[in-house]
Symmetry: C2
């Protein structure tokens, strides 16, 4: 596998993109498009929040009626079109209709995604004019890919893109590209996560869905900025088959190669989101080792990265391992605390704080040195099962997070 320098959403064959300003935000780019000339097999994961925003409902309908064959996605930032009732639904529909008309494709072959303020109606005229303009801009240029990645941003401070290529057993070269956006908004309102992945790999519907689901579960679903599930979260993959590899139809070596690369793309994008978390000053990687099973390990891992007390302790460079144990204990997962070892490590060193159920008399100076670094690895070895390692990523909780989220909407 090779990471492609300056690669992004248009790196895989046959995909084009663009990003422009259409007038939702004051000046910044706020409208993005991704297209595939060939019909793309498409699979999408949506938020578990029952207050699902209007565009997500349209996506579900279109994926169903097109049998997962998609040619274009339109995305706006600055307004989430959530909690906007029937008018919001009609607005989202109008976006797909206009997109389809401008591209001369069927409406069912389009998707729509929104992120931004909740509970405000879209400035729909600006957006419809914007769609007419953006379709004229689409190309596979690197610049366009970057514009697209930029136009989906809200309070993100940097664009999030990546692309990789791998050689399959039949010597075919396939590429996977992706962009994402993280937490926060121009008018802070929601920590919405969006992820869009493209690939030219030729793969069966069943296996694309399986690989993407598993990769999302171990990447985007294992990060936390503030434990909030947005009304607009979505992750989409499009596979147009243009790499002309022998179609991947069983879980063979080629499938494994594809899935490993996809996991790399998803987890890279997920980690970028955490690193750009609202007000984050530290990146935390939590490893839960030797749990009884994956599900329990995930619950423990998420509880640690979601805990305000853990997060504030890391913000304050406090080696407060008690809060880690307490966050684990609050999950209800049963474990034997007498077998647990907790350690922190990074470039600055490695320190064990708790072992076999007893607190250790550790070197506070070394702990502080480790905690002052920007990236900290927290290892929790349960020593009570064979689930080797489950990873999750989070950030600290800072004054800045409170500031960003306390600001007025207007």
């Amino acid at each position: 596998m090779e990471v492609i320098k300056d690669g992004g959403i248009t790196t895989p064959k046959g995909f084009k993109a663009a990003g422009i300003h259409c007038g939702i935000k004051k000046r910044k780019k706020d409208l993005a498009i991704i297209t595939s000339e060939k019909e793309s097999l498409c699979y999408a994961c949506f938020t578990q929040n029952t207050m699902k925003a209007a565009p997500l409902k349209i996506c579900e309908e279109n994926l169903k009626s097109s049998n997962n064959q998609i040619k274009a996605i339109i995305i706006n930032s600055g307004n989430a079109n959530a909690c906007t009732g029937d008018r919001g639904y009609q607005d989202a529909k109008l976006m797909t209709k206009t997109l389809a008309k401008c591209l001369n494709i069927e409406v069912s072959k389009t998707l729509v995604s929104s992120t931004g303020v909740i509970g405000a109606y879209l400035p729909i005229e600006n957006i419809l004019d914007g769609i007419e303009n953006i379709v004229k801009e689409i190309s596979e240029d690197t610049k366009n890919a970057k514009d697209c990645a930029e136009a989906i941003m809200t309070t993100d401070t940097f664009i999030k893109e990546i692309a990789v290529k791998i050689k399959l057993k039949d010597d075919a070269i396939i590429k996977i590209g992706g962009i994402s956006k993280g937490s926060g908004m121009i008018h802070p309102n929601m920590a919405t996560m969006l992820g869009f992945i493209t690939t030219d790999c030729n793969i069966s519907k069943k296996l694309l869905e399986k690989a993407f689901k598993e990769c999302i579960d171990s990447s985007f679903n294992m990060i936390s900025v503030d434990g909030e599930t947005s009304t607009n979260d979505m992750a989409v993959i499009m596979a147009n088959g243009e790499a002309s590899n022998n179609k991947i139809e069983k879980e063979d070596e080629n499938y494994k190669l594809f899935k490993t690369a996809l996991m790399f793309v998803c987890s890279s994008l997920a980690k970028m989101i955490v690193k750009d978390g609202e007000g984050a000053t530290k990146f935390l990687e939590v490893n839960i080792k030797n749990a009884k099973n994956k599900n329990e390990a995930k619950i423990l891992c998420k509880s640690i990265i979601n805990s305000n007390l853990v997060k504030t302790a890391f913000f304050g460079c406090d080696a407060n391992w008690g809060r880690i144990l307490s966050a684990m204990g609050s999950t209800g997962v049963k474990f034997d605390q007498n077998k647990i070892t907790i350690s922190f490590c990074n470039n600055a060193g490695d320190i064990v704080l708790f072992q076999n159920g007893e607190p250790l008399n550790f070197d506070e100076k070394l702990a502080l040195k480790i905690l002052k670094e920007k990236e900290i690895i927290i290892n929790v070895n349960l020593n009570q099962g064979n689930e080797e390692n489950v990873q999750g990523w989070g950030c600290d909780l800072s004054y800045e997070y409170v500031k960003i989220n306390a600001d007025y909407r207007t």
Copy 2:
């Protein structure tokens, strides 16, 4: 029912208390005692956190072996004796043994409770000396009750006590007193909630347990400062029967009078905890009206008061009702958003923000006026069931919360 001025833990007949400094904290009071000359029927609720601290284990054992007959509780603040392995367990045991010896009672008739830093061993010599001293101080004086309430505090900024009296149908007067402590520590570590209630009411074991459980579920269990469950949370009630009322043995009028008064005591103590939440600048009361059932209403209510995004919005005086809906949606509870009405109110006014699934064009100036007050009532009317009203209480999330919890342990 009458609230007794300056009433507290020693207001009910036959209870004594004291609070002293024994040397866990630098200068502040850190050791408290509550005793009943007569054996008291005792019921306790413990944390759901599986990393239960050592003293809680001792309490469970003693309640079992004494058949819920307790005469004394010793409580220390400044050190939680949690995550301290076998040594912590032996230390907690030693505290009850010393207490029993000094009072000349059976060990099984004692309880022990701790709150403070996690993962540090108790300065056990200081505490054992302290127990020998504190038993000489016990009395029913108001001053002693206040010393006791003070000695269980950690980062609390004020003592939390209350007492009420009610007249039963047989003209007997019974009293209920209580103290509690809230979130945070001298060396901030855990948001531990402790609550101790005394009553001279003569009541059966079954009904005392039933009333206390139900009151806790609607009071202490419906508040949130930061959504963290401590390793040391506990709430205890002691009923010594000294009021000599006809024993309450069925769910009659007297039981209802007792339970209403107990609920008042518990919810008053719970609200004081929220008002004194770490860094809190605002007190939030959430009312979930007309849900399908109590359980769903509680889940929705807790999700709102636990949401960092909701809490920071209130800190910033932002009428961000979208975050309330999103927090509700993230629970997985099914509801029809088209029937929901959301409004805020307090002394400054009353404003409807969302009605029948559509955002309202509300008066931002009035909203700001309401949000600038210290206490805000959030009404969420689901309009889809007969569960009249479920209440919960929380506070905002401020810079100060981050500051308190980011400070070094040492």
